[in-house]
Symmetry: D2
Subunit: 300 residues, 4 copies
């Protein structure tokens, strides 16, 4: 059977319903629909293909054309969710901007870390410095992708984590969704890091607390739909149900490249930058105790 | 009827056959298939939707993984085709890198002009300078896109042309193809400039000799397929023929965004850069009388 | 005699006193020292080497480490000065980001235009659109430098102005100062455009109302000190007065490259970006009727 | 006493002569003057402030305006020197592009690694792959600077080295010279890594075999002169000898910022890119067994 590609727990649940092993809870915060997908058991893990953990999805709408007020409220809502996952107490946060800055829809991670308010080097001099002004301890790297470094991203992160021992890691990554309508309108936050095969540039190794030895939070936004998944959905919609010759049609039209092609919006530069700003605002607000106005004026 | 989007004259001919009003000629040069599509009459113009002129298509294959030798031969073949279209005699060439540098598959034009060997400012001092070394007269602009400047690209080019009076304009642009297999494997050169609605960022005005008052050559490479066109082709392949409910299916899956989404290869950063290098080599070789080795060492 | 290089009218006055032909007026606005240097007569023009006009200098301090409140107040003060120079009534403003984006201290212009809220293409559809929300009509180009285009910057601007007929031009450029202490701490606004020989990349042609046919406002920040000028000032400070062998010393140490070298702060990337943000805020606030908070959330 | 800043062992020798504890040897290779400065004893180490090791300086001239032939010969000469320092046998090389990509004269390292032919990820699949075509095993990172990451560069490198265990590290960095005439015309290769206080962005920790546990080669090009050092040299040249009031003069003119200002050529974007190409060619040729033509066509 053709496996529809998605990095969203929410969509796995939509695809397979209760049999997905994923429990769903929906609430509304500040007018934003927040869906929490829980994978609770090893059975759920097996059924869903997602490791046990919480996957929180916020339906943020077309944030790149949102009024300033709505942008601010969305950033605050995200910051609150993120803060609830951050370990309390001493220690620094390490943010990791995953992905390839040279490919617009994969540039979300590197763009986000450029907008973070980095303080670890100042805090190392004196951890109380600027604390009264609200500053927490934040560090960040953008490790590049395998083709640029020759080194697995997971390996770089693990080694840096071993060296600087942050209290937790926040992975920022561009995701693949199954639905065009979710592109750039959805944010997924998870306490379970990133699976092999995820993201636009298809990570090959697990990135999680098990591997890194510290809590790993991931925050991502779908920016692409896999071309073969789109093709499959179109055929299914037309035919009414799955058909055995879909694979052949897709093979003919997409050739062998179907899994190496993606669908993405035309104005994805504006979307990528605005989404990166949103995530950076949320991370800055969660780590530093400041409101969006203070944050935005410390950042270029 | 649904109009399949393509900027390639070759594909219009494929879609509509002889009724397209396009005459086709195929030859082989240096092992590369060169297809010349001619729109000869106003009848042909009407049928094809393409203005009268020659549209030369070179099937260059996966140039981004080609051996150095094949890259060199391809650049030389392109340079020869280009040179045959350049007006002889005195005067400078103005190269225009169309498109949005921030969107990877639309960045072909701006990336190409960065690799050109610009000489107009030196030639203005003394037009004989460096002529013996092979240098012709080349200038270039990358005017940006409407959303960045607030000014139609056609307007910027027309005004610069009016001012500096080049002997011809070479427009470099990323194109839309109908077929995924043609992405980055095809180069189209034309003596007819660019039509409204063409290119990744959808020009709104005609860019041609009629508008600019000097010969306009365009050179482009398809880097995207329109998502709705892909969807349509997939349905047609499966259903065997066009069906009246295709539009509804596409509307449902792509929603209203189908024409604002495109399909593109994952490694489009490498492809865009390598393709830009190819076009820049060809333009440099056509304008300056140098071989690829000399050219490549003058350029970073 | 050695000519000390500066683009600031204020510094010409400092160098030559009343004999400079420049009248000086100093006030304070919002805690910022605002110095207006007037060149009123053709005699003053001859003496100062500056065309007749007003040159307003704001001493904004180290804006790149300023508290948000002070940044906001400074932007507002600049916006007010700028607005007082903008022609009233219908018509669009054309902002021009001068300089080379690839050279950090020369990148002020291109960085600034990237942060402008461009509206001309929307206003062309219906000039009343968004007016109630405060939006004026703004367009922008970043024409690049001579070595990149082969075309004089003045020529590109003039041709675009001829074509789109803006109500005025705002030139944004990085300047040379005589004093290191003025680097990035001073903004000069003028109603007289830019002289030949000015700016980091040394424009060769006049850019003014006389040449473009519409009012030309320039706004600039010194980001470099000419190395030879610095050397001269150091020698003079030590020797107490000018000495005939200075030139020889400078020639020996700076060799023939003295005028092709500049002095600039180490953290000039942060300074360039923060200064660009300041100018962009001021231009956005002057053209659109919005406060800094609204503006900053429309911009990435 | 005022300490003149330089990262070149050659200039320390010039400043202090034989008392510098540095032995000098000069030869000529392919028409290029190659000076080897040896610090042989702990006494030499103390006197020179440079750790024991070999510092090879090549006087490459104005490489950014060199004829292709001379560029090629220079790259080959550099590659030979570099190869003589590389450990033989199995294992991968880790290249590290030090410095801040956003500051033109500090961008040498990051620009260089972008032009490297990365193969480690392919060699990991099968170390014999492409060996017959000449490919060795190369990986690379550009770790950013302290202000961007909050993490000492030395710490990031050390942790990655611990993880991937390369056979050696090549550090690529922009240096400070004492002489304007050496800017971009000199390459220094050393088997002793980088000292605290070196480079444009002033590293704070030692980067050497002692710290990393594997051989550390550094390759650098001076791109800046410290403004205070230039001022001092100018005063000394004029006064004939050191004077006690130099410090006061420099303090007055440079204020407290003298050590935070640098002197750099105006066209430093072209220089930085061409120099990065030179270093990348040399590293590619030293690690992979290919000539410059093969290398240059694998790289964009």
């Amino acid at each position: 059977m053709f496996e529809k590609r998605t990095d969203l727990a929410l969509e796995i649940r939509e695809l397979h319903g209760e049999e997905s092993g994923i429990d769903i809870e929906e609430t509304e915060k500040n007018g934003i629909t927040v869906t929490t997908a829980n994978v609770n058991s090893s059975k759920g893990e097996e059924l869903s293909g997602k490791p046990q953990g919480r996957y929180i999805t916020l339906d943020v709408g077309k944030i790149w054309i949102a009024e300033p007020k709505r942008f601010e409220l969305t950033a605050k809502t995200l910051a609150d969710e993120l803060e609830s996952l951050l370990p309390k107490g001493e220690g620094c946060v390490l943010a990791v901007g995953m992905g390839n800055e040279q490919i617009t829809p994969d540039s979300l991670g590197p763009r986000t870390v450029k907008k973070l308010l980095i303080t670890r080097h100042i805090k190392k001099i004196d951890s109380a410095l600027y604390t009264s002004a609200g500053f927490g301890c934040l560090s960040a790297i953008a490790p590049g992708v395998l083709g640029q470094t020759g080194i697995e991203t997971a390996e770089i992160i693990k080694n840096v984590v071993n060296g600087i021992k942050p209290k937790c890691v926040i992975l920022i990554d561009a995701l693949a969704s199954r639905r065009l309508s979710r592109l750039a309108t959805t944010v997924q936050i998870s306490d379970r890091g990133i699976n092999p095969g995820s993201g636009v540039s298809n990570k090959r190794a697990e990135l999680s607390e098990k591997v890194f030895g510290v809590p790993v939070i991931s925050i991502g936004v779908p920016t692409v739909v896999d071309a073969a998944t789109l093709a499959y959905d179109i055929l299914e919609e037309h035919h009414g149900k799955e058909d055995s010759d879909f694979a052949q049609v897709i093979e003919k039209i997409l050739s062998s490249e179907g899994r190496n092609m993606f669908v993405t919006p035309k104005d994805n530069d504006i979307i990528a930058q605005k989404t990166a700003n949103l995530l950076a605002c949320a991370i800055n607000m969660a780590v530093h105790k400041m409101d969006i106005k203070e944050i935005s004026e410390y950042i270029d």
